[in-house]
Assembly symmetry: C2
Homo-oligomer: 416 residues x 2
Amino acid sequence: MTKRIISELYKGFISDSYPFVIMAQLARQPFSRGEYRDRLHETQRRMEDRGLNVLLITDPANIFYLSGYDAYSFYVPQILLVTPDRDQPVWVGRDQDYTCATETTWLDTDNIVVYSDEYVDSEKHPMSFVADILNNWGRADTTIGVEMKSDYFSAHAYHELSRALPDATFEDTTKFVNFIRMVKSDAEVECHRQAAKISEQAMKQGIDTISAGVSESDAAATVYEALLEGTDETGGDYPAIVPLMPSGKGTGSPHLTWTNEKYEEGEPVILELAGVVNRYHSPLTRTIFLGEPPEQVRTASQIIVDGIEAALDAVEPGVTCEEVEQVWRERIKGTIVEKESRIGYSTGIGYPPSWVEKTASIRPGDQTELQPNMVFHMIPGVWFDDYGIEISESFLVTEDGAEVLADVPRELIVKN
Amino acid sequence: MTKRIISELYKGFISDSYPFVIMAQLARQPFSRGEYRDRLHETQRRMEDRGLNVLLITDPANIFYLSGYDAYSFYVPQILLVTPDRDQPVWVGRDQDYTCATETTWLDTDNIVVYSDEYVDSEKHPMSFVADILNNWGRADTTIGVEMKSDYFSAHAYHELSRALPDATFEDTTKFVNFIRMVKSDAEVECHRQAAKISEQAMKQGIDTISAGVSESDAAATVYEALLEGTDETGGDYPAIVPLMPSGKGTGSPHLTWTNEKYEEGEPVILELAGVVNRYHSPLTRTIFLGEPPEQVRTASQIIVDGIEAALDAVEPGVTCEEVEQVWRERIKGTIVEKESRIGYSTGIGYPPSWVEKTASIRPGDQTELQPNMVFHMIPGVWFDDYGIEISESFLVTEDGAEVLADVPRELIVKN
């Protein structure tokens, strides 16, 4: 059976049910139409609760969630329009991306609308095009939700939209779809599990490769190769954040990328990466020490591991994010480890620049209650004057507690 | 000499001059302080011409250009402030990225200002913090340039900023720094040349690997490995856009990413990639045919190559972008090849989601005059009903014409 025929099957015959085996593979249309309809209906239900007539979505992760649209084309404006009554969202994008939409979304072609190239990097802005659509729908004077904090909804886009729709009422719906995404379906959980297997493999590859005398860029090359090659079951999708692998003093700077300097004996190396399947991320971090670590590094690592394990033990449905953080905080109290920033966040679908879901954070004040099928990345990065230690786990909330997704020894990795 | 000591040298002793050999390597501080000062002075000169009291920069490429800041942390708000009188820009970012700034920028620590973690994914927005700085400088009621179309200046960020600075006058300076970046220094050109060598190598690796029966994700893994591993002279930096490698009918969809389906005999595969050194991109694209191509594919490829060569021949200082496009257009006239969208754009520094510089496009109406040391990616992608062909070159404008940066046969690559 060729991929063309499979693709037709996706669209037509296999509509509401779907063999789970497909979930173990990168695919152009990884979810069933039934699942997309469920996502849409939940969105529409919440829109009605909030009195929204239109949801204007610009975050690529939210567009993917509701439509399936998946291409590296989000550097031009792309918009998904949802109304409470339409039975599919409408995708709006650039003309040359039309077939990306037909190939990857569950939408009928009537619901794929493109603007011409004269709107690209020019004075004409696609939001005036979107305003015309809303005018045609008779929704120019209604309440429209816009993602004010989305990276892909620029100040100018909002300016153009509000100028073209002077009678509309705009509401900030930045995290509206993100919160719907937060509780995963079983099919999404399967993507996370497969992604975690890729994370394990890439981490093992990284640990094997990173040694004194090896250049950072060569190590990055090897880790990337493992991330994309994937497992026997599935290839890997690209991560929203490149592998972060600072070394030495740089471990105090968690977001530094690699150079082509060589690793040196006697220094720590942090490796933060995420396996990805169908845009679902399972991030994982370990700290590797090249040579015999100083006592302080060993001690601090053990404290961090203890803190993580205590926090993981505290996870169960109904517990709040801040309660989980509190357990961590209590456990490290009075030790050499101090931690001001959040120790984790919910994760899932991600496009550059981030795999953070931007809903709940594991930190004081966040009263989000854990529910089964939420996925978090717990990453209490700790930075001292000269170095940092990061050890992290992605976990799924289950009825019983936390299911840690990847299986890599939870400790300071010492390479002697 | 350890990397720590080299890093100190960068900051101190080697100030205005710089051995070019450093340019051939990924480095935390690849340019001299003298070069940064030149960039700043040119920016300040243009600010005065335009009557700007503050330039508030949010585009990571522009921040990198003026400060050297380079880390994968642009998913939280980062701001560079330039005034006509200060002798360095001021970088504003998240507290945990402070040492990323000390490690990668030429700025004195006084000019590195951080906001705490309570501003991250929360109700408090860093723009209120920035407004406080401008207030302290007595610039709250002045003319402030903001990048309204930047991906990393959200509608909300502008809202918060303008609310906090009600007496300020805001001007859209989206492409202000981009246009300064457009003419490269010799050190920047050297980055492009080194990046092109990486592009060549990754392209050769891709052509060798892509074959019927190989999975797309395995091919992507190999290409990525080659991009990061780099050449004997330098490792590779990550590209702002992942390698795009659609196959079969997917070649009509230029921005599709890979799945783990296998390539099939008798189909075209497009490979668009960019080698990157110190964030400078040299994109390159070839179309590979697995097996004997249909006559139409051969014919169309030859027409595209002829068109590209005619357009490259037309490049010289003083010629406009639209004149270059006109030569392409004339050459393909009356053939089976039709092309509506632009055939190229200026390129240089790039961060996700794009390596496009967003200044000049090679298309009708763009009257930007070519100048020596500009760099363009000429990519006249042509899409038919069932497939597409993309063959591209990055080129440097020299006193004499176009210097094509990578050396890969400019033709349809046939793998029999």
